[in-house]
Amino acid sequence: MSDRRVSVRKTYKLFIGGAFPRSESGRSYPVTRTEHAARASRKDARDAVVAARKAFPGWSGATAYNRGQILYRVAEMLEGRRAQFADELGGPRKQALEQVDAAVDRLVWYAGWSDKIAAVRGTANPVASPYLNLSSPEPVGVVAVVAPADPLLGLVSAVAPVIVTGNTCVVVAAERAPLPAITFAEVLATSDLPGGVVNILTGHQAELAPWLAAHMDVNGLDLTGVTTPEQALACERAATENFKRVLTAAEDRGTRRMTAFMETKTVWHPAGI
């Protein structure tokens, strides 16, 4: 009896501004027989938006090369915790490992886009007057992401394209399986990703998503993970108040998840002596 060590369990908390606070509401909700997750309040959601906004100038102003390096570093850190994530995902071991591997590979894929998307989406425009005219894509700002139910691969597939271009985000983790999202936050926290670039909330989607959809300092909204059509419609309507860029479908084709949250800026300058 005495030779069996009692394990030290992890408290799953929120991830806001690079720190791991509990919900300011003091609430949590049961996820498994033995584990709870923090149940974020709308105040936590607002705090997360503030953290994301604060991180935006630095992250969007970092070089594309630097952002690519950091995403690649996230992939490295995730690879190193392969077994831990497979445990947390549960189910058949082989499938769980495949999920983790796919998430790592997706991070690597998006990491490489950091310094290529502008070349693909930008244009040099041959205007009919003596001007240099260039269009280039830029991050839209703070994006709220309602992450899909798939707890790790879904999360990574939603977050990586949003941040690689320079956006910062507030993520509502999958409601029923939020724990891998918080463990993923530990990966982010040890990857040189500046605090506030990714903020992760666990809790009830119905309680958090509408507040983020209506938040006037959020510029983009990814509704991929919204579970009911009524909720999706309500969020889409609320998003129109400040014309958030909204991604509704689980579109994973090509560059769509990146370009959905990019603006095109066109700069003119006269050419002459």
């Binding site: 102003g61 693909v120 244009t123 425009n125 041959p126 205007v127 009919a128 007057s129 001007y131 005219n133 269009s135 839209v140 510029n219 999706a232 419609l233 889409e236 309507r237 998003a239 129109t240 108040e241 400040n242 014309f243 860029r245 769509r256 603006e263 095109t264 800026k265 066109t266 700069v267 003119w268 300058h269 006269p270």
Partner: protein, 472 residues
Amino acid sequence: MFEYAPAPESREIVDLRPSYGLFIDGEFTEGSGPAFKTVNPATEETLAEVACASADDVDRAVRAARKAFGGWSGLPGSERAKYLFRIARIIQERARELAVLESLDNGKPIRESRDVDLPLVAAHFFYYAGWADKLQYAGFGTKPLGVAGQVIPWNFPLLMLAWKVAPALACGNTVVLKPAETTPLTALLFADICRQAELPPGVVNIVTGAGETGAAVVAHPEVDKVAFTGSTEVGRLIARTVAGTGKKVTLELGGKAANIVFDDAPIDQAVEGIVNGIFFNQGHVCCAGSRLLVQESVQEELLAALKRRLGTLRLGDPLDKNTDIGAINSAEQLARIRSLSETGESEGAERWSPACELPERGFWFPPTLFTGVAQSHTIAREEIFGPVLSVLTFRTPAEAVEKANNTPYGLSAGVWTEKGSRILWMAERLRAGVVWANTFNKFDPASPFGGYKESGYGREGGLHGLEAYLDV
């Protein structure tokens, strides 16, 4: 100052009919709503009576567009292109007629409708004609969306029509377009051009009317794509109507652009840019440089030069070739400009206009500038959409960026400085869809246009403009 003799453009070239119908399925037809009058804002004379499309008429137009869609989208791109080239050529050929009609109905100076609007309209059709058979190279696929419902404003009636219709047709969509109720005439002349070009019936349908007609176009269940240019207020209603329907939307809305002048900018060039930025088209421009941010150290010198220049602007008959500033488009818009200017004064800003005689009939407002404007003032925050400039100052580049971005809008911005690295530094930080450096209010069909934040969704023009009309 020189005295100028009047040099009016003849209006003989325009054959105005007493009344106009809707253009549906290749035919002009009656509207079932109450007909309305369109007036010349420079004289208040009635130009014509125009049919008003009811919801039933809109339905008829959408069904005609739906019926035409299969054939039009099924044409090889190279054939669609030839129709668009035809239209572009006819527009060039009838440019004078269109320019005079535009100035009559809108109130803008003939110099602008002739030298800016019309050349850009023709160029836009040429540009997108060339894309019709090259869509596979643009990266958005080649599948059109279906029927496009398009609602356009009164400030550049025919140019906004071109921005909407040309890319829609090039991509294989068919169109139901509603022009603004105060400026329907050039769109109806365009309908005649479609007939002249033998464009298949139903590919372009034009329904005239006011807000209700536009709302019917936007809400019609058979419309697959909504494109709107106009106020942020109406844009928000449209976005809400369309949310959750799966319709694709592009919105080009309001602005409150900062035009930023640094102390090293060549003053005379900057003054020309400021004047062009806010007084072009009577300031009825969504991307107008309505907030002048001038570096404190050159404020006095710049304002003195600006006031001198404003004294030389000629306001009056839009058809006079010497006119710089034409009429305000409507009594309603004039009331709005007056009311916001009064608010500017009552909130403590100082108002100035050059000595300027306003004609007795028609809707007129003198070029106006406000100094001593704070960021909190209504005239520094709200779009006035008239010839009214708010002047603010700054000390450092960082402060200029902060103030320029301190608005819910993000359509355009201007920067004036001789220092190249500072231009790039500023351009990177300004949150606006178009940044004009050492220039302002330049447009080209090859150049994408559209806003950040509450200035709307999507881009018009250039390769980017195709995305709005393809099923990406």
